[in-house]
């Protein structure tokens, strides 16, 4: 086996040093009654070339976004990932390190995490960020847990226009947390601040998404204010790529900002691995889950970085920890940092402006072709809902025959939207491709 390094000769010498006659003797502590006693029923080993052939064959049976014009979004987006991201992630030192428990061995990684935390704070307008959560769904559960303990309240309010998978994950975690989940329906694509406020009474927190799952821009400052009126923490679930043109949650009164990081620096990868980001106001720092890199000095007084506030964490605090998270998504968060550094503030704004311009073009062209927007009076960012005059599933099937994936069928998650497609337009799409989309839907 090419990944193993011992020779027959090594094995003999090592057994002698240990003082046993065979490798089997090392396993004698396993009671005979629970030993397998046969070979694992797995297919025979593949050589490296054979392995590549096998996996290439499997990969070829997927229709990736290079093989059709994709307007799929709904949480995961076909944004451009710059070459420098691949180059940095291919560095073996970064790729094959683990959690920087020994800071003197991992200054580079700790500094990268510190720089990532800074970037997330800058994007969201928050004071503190952790080193990442699993994805955009689990950080929502984390935020609820923080809010429950910060407020002592046992109810969380979710806007229905929040990503359905995010809501589903919060609901899965909620019984263990001992919190009740209340949902507030959308009204013509956005959340009504008065309805949200009514639901927020005695709530630990209110979660809404900006832009929301339906593509619409929420009246986010009003929603945050509605939560504050009732003493509930406002939690905004935001798209990192939107934050060059859309206001930072910290600037409109949110206590916690969370989101799915994929759009900034990660490939779609059939849903993962990606990173969830979680940032908050400084008063919540000791309730944050997960790793945090902090600045300090070494014995010579030079600047350095360490994992800090570890008494929050499971390996110290055990059942009283702020979370059970250990392994996180640092490598994907690092990709996010590289991507955001590549963009810079100007590039981030340009991506946002291009998404805005292209998606408006798409809306106009679809309207010209006779399609009706699901929420015509609502502003959008890169994604919008359009009614296609027949079940959206059917429209998807027929559009795919002409090489276009036109978007996500909203009827899966929302009543009354069976004929609605959620169309995502990233900076990678062109006006020609949008014209193809309109043709594909019209035919």
């Amino acid at each position: 086996m090419s990944f193993l390094s011992l020779t027959e000769h090594d094995r003999g010498q090592m057994l002698e040093t240990i003082g046993v006659d065979s490798v089997d003797e090392l396993f004698e502590q396993i009671p005979t009654g629970v030993r397998l006693g046969r070979a694992l029923a797995l297919e025979p080993p593949l050589s490296e070339p054979e392995l590549v052939v096998h996996l290439s064959e499997l990969a070829s049976r997927n229709v990736d976004t290079g093989r059709e014009i994709s307007f799929l979004g709904a949480g995961i987006y076909d944004h451009y990932v710059p070459a420098v991201v691949d180059a940095v992630l291919a560095r073996g030192e970064l790729l094959t390190a683990y959690t920087p428990y020994q800071p003197e061995m991992s200054q580079g990684m700790l500094q990268a995490i510190f720089e990532y935390q800074t970037a997330i704070c800058e994007l969201t307008g928050m004071d503190v960020s952790n080193a990442s959560g699993y994805d955009g769904t689990t950080v929502a559960a984390d935020a609820c847990y923080m809010a429950k303990h910060a407020t002592g309240r046992a109810k969380v309010v979710l806007a229905e226009a929040l990503n359905p998978q995010v809501r589903q994950v919060v609901k899965t975690y909620a019984p263990g947390f001992g919190v009740e989940v209340v949902e507030v329906p959308h009204r013509e694509g956005t959340t009504d601040p008065d309805e949200l406020q009514a639901a927020a009474r005695d709530a630990a927190c209110v979660l809404f998404q900006q832009p929301n799952f339906l593509g619409c821009l929420e009246p986010a400052p009003d929603l945050a204010a509605a939560a504050a009126e009732e003493g509930a923490l406002a939690v905004a679930h935001v798209d990192p790529v939107s934050l060059g043109v859309l206001e930072a949650p910290g600037a409109y009164g949110c206590s916690i900002a969370i989101g799915e990081g994929q759009a900034a620096g990660n490939y779609q990868s059939y849903g993962g691995p990606h990173y969830g980001f979680l940032a908050a106001r400084s008063e919540f720092i000791r309730r944050m889950p997960g790793r945090i890199s902090g600045e300090t000095v070494d014995a010579d007084g030079e600047r350095g970085f360490v994992l800090t506030l570890q008494t929050r964490e499971q390996h110290i605090r055990r059942e009283k920890a702020t979370s059970n998270i250990t392994t996180n998504q640092t490598l994907l968060a690092l990709a996010g940092l590289v991507h955001l550094s590549w963009l810079g503030p100007q590039g981030l704004r340009e991506v946002g402006e291009t998404c805005l311009a292209l998606s408006r073009y798409a809306k106009e062209r679809l309207a010209e072709a006779g399609f009706e927007l699901a929420f015509p009076n609502k502003a959008t960012f890169k994604e919008f809902a359009v009614r296609v005059g027949r079940p959206a599933k059917e429209a998807i099937t027929s559009a795919r025959h002409s090489g276009v994936h036109p978007g996500y069928a909203l009827g899966r998650d929302y009543q009354g939207l069976d004929d609605a497609l959620l169309v995502a337009v990233t900076e990678k799409r062109t006006t020609e491709e949008i014209d193809r989309l309109v043709e594909a839907l019209a035919s």
């Binding site: 086996m1 396993i30 290439s56 390190a97 998978q165 263990g176 490939y267 250990t326 996180n328 590549w342």
Partner: protein, 499 residues
């Protein structure tokens, strides 16, 4: 070394982006960004150099020996990186229609089958994002199972040995259960008498790592299973240490009802400075209805996603889980096939060899052969020379090694937890053992050398207390701003030219 923000200069950038010839569209003023995020402004050459410098200051498995106990820091085959980058995997949208993602679905289905065989349990969900989330998912399954039987109110307690990872008790709290601790006996096994006294009608289940964090296989495992199943309780297997027993013994065969895998440990996902990981779970038939949705299912030659699981606990993560991790681990397992047993045998041989070489210089709290890792105590060095395990760890850095896990498990004072993995050569193990022995001698002869270590890393020993007392967790732009009125460099140059 400067932060990337300290290398930033207004007007620089690395990105070039498409700018379609379209009229500008805007967002309503009250929702518009008021001041731009202070992201780095840096050119591509400087960006690449910055992250190369950060890589230079980071130690990975690719750099050298990384015997971090409980983390299974084995080699990460590069072919796995190649196959995960195939566009058919990398650029596949998770909402692609099932007909357009047959290859991905088949890969997941195949991985489920493989994990079921390795665990000795029939049903698998790949969804959990990491080991800890696998634990939490397993506890949620227990609650759903008992709720379905009307026993949820009664069964509130989860039993965990004192040698367990901190994630176990933390998961218990997050799942809304109560923790019951059980001690370790003098051979390093779970104390069976104490266990019998603590397991009863209120017990929901056990969480056990086996081999334990002491690197020892619990010799009483069959009796443990009788105690729990006799009480109508479930058994959860923490797969953190599965690297010791693949193809040799299966958790399902020794009584466990739920098992999580750490794909990033056992099946070689690069650890990436902290993650990503993968924490699939395998369960017995009676727990299958409660698994997260969607299930990956096969119908003849086609594969699909099944959301119609009315008893499911729901979702613990987006989509089907960390797919890229599945590709790498699937590739890794297919490279071995049934020879996974040889992987575990080599891991156990390497650990026992190192143990044999070190057991006289350091204290061995439980005098047994080990499995894939072992725990030593530095208590004697501390007592006799005033040198702590932390000092030993820091001194190992000067010898070019990543230190082992230290001060864990908590039940061993001054613990050093060493896991060499199967991918290391005997030469590497010997060099490491020589270094550990040299350090033990230095502790007696030149203790200051250890107390001031490391000497050759980019930084000296870091002040962790200061970082806690005064948390600085983001760059302070305001504190580092140049004083107002100070002319920027380029302008100064221009002025000189003009003169």
């Amino acid at each position: 070394m400067k932060l990337i923000y300290e290398k930033s200069k207004p007007g620089r950038r690395a990105s070039t982006l498409p700018r379609p010839d379209l009229p500008a569209a805007d967002v309503p003023e009250e929702l518009r960004r008021s001041s731009p995020p202070r992201l780095p402004e840096i050119s591509e050459p400087e960006l690449v150099r910055h992250f190369t410098a950060l890589a230079d200051r980071t130690f990975g498995v690719d750099t050298g020996f990384y015997p971090l106990g409980s983390c299974t820091m084995k080699h990460n085959p590069r072919v796995n990186e190649r196959v995960v980058s195939l566009p058919g995997f990398r650029d596949l949208h998770p909402h692609q229609e099932e007909e357009g993602s047959q290859g991905a679905l088949e890969l997941m289905w195949r991985l489920q089958e493989i994990l079921a065989e390795i665990a000795g349990l029939p049903a698998v969900s790949l969804q959990p994002a990491a080991g800890s989330q696998g634990e939490l998912t397993g506890l949620m399954l227990m609650r759903a199972y008992y709720a379905d039987r009307g026993e949820d109110e009664q069964r509130r307690e989860i039993v965990i040995p004192d040698s367990a990872h901190g994630t176990n008790p933390a998961s218990v709290t997050m799942a809304g259960y109560e923790l019951v601790d059980v001690s370790t006996d003098r051979r390093g096994n779970v104390d069976l008498d104490e266990l019998r006294a603590k397991v009863g009608p209120r017990t929901a289940g056990l969480m056990l790592t086996n081999p334990s964090t002491l690197g020892l296989f619990d010799e009483g495992i069959e009796e443990i299973a009788r105690i729990f199943h006799g009480a109508g309780a479930l058994m959860y297997y923490d797969g953190a240490n599965l690297n010791a027993i693949c193809g040799i013994s299966r958790p399902g065969d020794f009584g466990f009802d739920i098992v999580h895998f750490n794909l990033h440990k056992t099946f070689s996902q690069p650890h990436g400075g902290g993650g990503p990981g993968g924490g699939p779970i395998a369960v017995r038939e009676r727990l299958e209805p409660f698994l997260p949705v969607p299930a990956v299912v096969r119908d003849g030659d086609t594969f699909g996603l099944d959301y119609e699981r009315p008893k499911s606990i729901g979702k613990v993560r987006g989509f089907c889980g960390p797919f890229g991790v599945f590709v790498r681990s699937y590739a890794y397992i297919r490279s071995f096939g049934p020879a996974l047993r040889e992987m575990s045998e080599a891991a156990v041989l390497n650990a026992n060899y190192l143990l044999a070489r070190l057991r006289d210089a350091y204290e061995l709290p439980f005098d047994r052969l080990c499995m894939h890792e072992f725990v030593l105590s530095g208590r004697r060095l501390k007592r006799e020379h005033g040198v702590s395990t932390l000092d030993v760890a820091k001194r190992l850095m000067d010898h070019g090694f990543h230190p082992p896990t230290i001060y864990f498990p908590l039940i061993v004072p001054e613990a050093l937890m060493i896991e060499p993995t199967e991918t290391e050569t005997k030469e590497t193990l010997d060099t490491f053992a020589d270094a550990m022995l040299a350090i033990a001698r230095e502790a007696a002869e030149e203790p200051e050398l250890l107390k001031e270590a490391p000497h050759v890393r980019p930084v000296k020993r870091l002040d962790e207390v200061r970082a806690v007392k005064n948390p600085v967790v983001r760059y302070g732009f305001e504190e580092h701003e140049e004083p107002p009125g100070a002319p920027a460099e380029p302008r100064q140059l221009e002025a000189q030219k003009g003169a």
